[in-house]
């Protein structure tokens, strides 16, 4: 892992390179399938912002359990900016959206790009100050945490309503935003669990506190599996019961027609049933390997679900998608590995 350590400058360069490559792939190789790009964006935006949100939430509710993982989770916050910038390039592939030829006050290209970019920019700034405050464990960290959560919720709602829901325009579900920021948090937790498990296996940190962290994250993951099921059901039931063609069409295609049908069932299995059953036992919650496995499955579930949201309305190029994920994953690891470099810097700067 330490091999990957880089200086902040290098990190910046790496980010730019990777970003550029992704943009190239999108616009040179597969200009027609903006869905792929959207998939990458929607997944990583959740992962990155969620990770930070987990810490923020803990701080806001003055909970201690996360402290041992603070620095690790915060190490991703610069990527918020990265995603924000990357998002701007979606502007080149706006034709994925059906409303593109009948734009209205809310859904029109310039406003769409501007509002989302700005929101994420602000989120990044707040995240920066928050990271600073919480690492220095200063008075204001609570306030910054709350601020971050606010904007986080806004951004994720925008992601839900603007990026994804408008693919199926004019289909509307008011719960979509809720589902998204909940899922982002879910992913964040899973990352925390992964890191905890990683440490436990590597035994780099004090195992007692780590195992405690592992258990807590596992417990929360378990809880969020339930929460996910709850929200999903809440949305499904209302539409199912109301039986208004405009609304049901969205579900029908995703639940009654192959291949989406299969994707749907698998993602439900990954996001709810498996973590629920898998983490119900007391022992399961403290076994690093098992938790790692579950964590990865949940991540896979999230990806599948994003695919399910996007695929029926916008094409996804599998190879490109895999490529982009690898690149992003690599960048992700880089930031994780070289956290000491800039986190220290952050802690120093007064």
């Amino acid at each position: 892992m330490n091999k990957l350590q880089l200086k902040p400058v290098m990190l910046g360069i790496a980010a730019i390179v990777i970003g550029a490559v992704i943009v190239l792939i999108q616009n040179i190789l597969i200009p027609e399938s903006g869905g792929t790009f959207l998939l990458t964006l929607t997944f990583w935006v959740a992962l990155i912002q969620g990770a930070v949100a987990v810490v923020a939430a803990a701080d806001a509710s003055a909970a201690k359990w996360i402290t041992p993982l603070k620095r690790e989770l915060l190490s991703f916050y610069p990527l918020i900016l990265f995603i924000a910038i990357l998002f701007l390039f979606l502007g080149l592939q706006m034709d994925v959206y059906p409303w593109i030829d009948k734009q209205n006050k809310w859904l029109n290209v310039p406003f769409f790009l501007v509002r989302n970019f700005l929101a994420m920019l602000v989120l990044y700034i707040v995240a920066h100050f928050y990271a600073k405050a919480t690492l220095a464990n200063s008075e204001g960290k609570g306030r910054w945490a709350i601020a971050y959560l606010f904007i986080y919720v806004t951004v994720q709602s925008l992601v839900a309503f603007d990026w994804v829901m408008s693919l199926a325009y004019p289909w509307v579900s008011t719960l979509f935003g809720g589902i998204f920021f909940m899922e982002a948090f879910y992913t964040g937790l899973v990352i925390a669990a992964l890191i905890a498990a990683y440490y436990l296996r590597k035994e780099v940190e004090d195992p007692v506190s780590m195992s405690k962290v592992l258990r807590d994250t596992a417990v929360f993951t378990f809880g969020f599996a339930l929460a996910w099921a709850g929200l999903f059901y809440a949305q499904f039931l209302v539409i199912w019961y109301g039986n208004i063609p405009e609304e049901t069409s969205y579900l029908v295609i995703r639940m009654h027609h192959s291949p989406y049908m299969e994707i749907f069932y698998v993602s439900v299995f990954f996001l709810f049933i498996l973590p629920f059953v898998g983490l119900i036992g007391r022992k399961a919650k403290i076994s690093p390997n098992w938790v790692t496995l579950v964590a990865f499955i949940v991540l896979a579930g999230i990806v599948l679900e994003r695919i399910l949201f996007i695929l029926p309305d916008a094409s996804i190029n599998p190879i490109a998608a895999v490529a982009e994920f690898i690149l992003m994953g690599f960048l992700f690891l880089l930031f994780f590995a070289s956290r000491d470099q800039f986190i220290k810097a952050l802690e120093m700067s007064k």
Partner: protein
């Protein structure tokens, strides 16, 4: 021969308890009574996780199955179509099933609790203050070979 130790202070009580365990008295022969739950005791005595959870699980499962069966059976018993929904509309019945799961889970855990703690009557649970505000350790020594 049964020994009974009374404490006014929780910490003293806990110290003594640890000593006892260290001195090799098997936790099985120690009974404690406290004015309010002291979670440390569980750590010290390494009490195995209470089997109550199995009652809960049992109850929950039963509730779930019963709910599923009951809703479907009553609907089939006199099939009436409403709003074009299938006679057995799973999504709707899930809710009832879920609620019954919680209900039975709760109720049966409680019964299990009564059963496990071998408490004949609810009365004696309601007034646990036999020792007032004291912490009590009872040691039953059945070491008579």
């Amino acid at each position: 021969m049964n020994e009974q130790l009374l404490f006014d202070d929780k910490n003293k009580f806990l110290q003594k308890l640890e000593e006892l365990v260290k001195s090799g008295v098997s936790p099985r022969n120690i009974a404690v009574s406290t004015p309010y739950p002291v979670h440390e005791v569980e750590h010290i005595l390494k009490t195995p996780p209470s089997p109550l959870r199995f009652f809960t699980l049992l109850g929950a499962l039963f509730g779930l199955l019963f709910g599923a069966w009951f809703t479907s059976w009553t609907s089939i018993n006199w099939p009436l179509i409403g709003g074009g929904k299938p006679i057995i509309s799973v999504p709707a019945f899930v809710i009832v099933a879920f609620e019954l799961t919680v209900l039975f889970g709760g109720v049966i855990s409680f019964l299990g609790f009564l059963f496990l703690t071998r408490l004949p009557s609810v009365k004696s649970i309601i007034s646990p203050e036999e020792y007032g505000n004291r912490f009590v350790i009872q040691i039953h020594s059945e070491e008579k070979k």
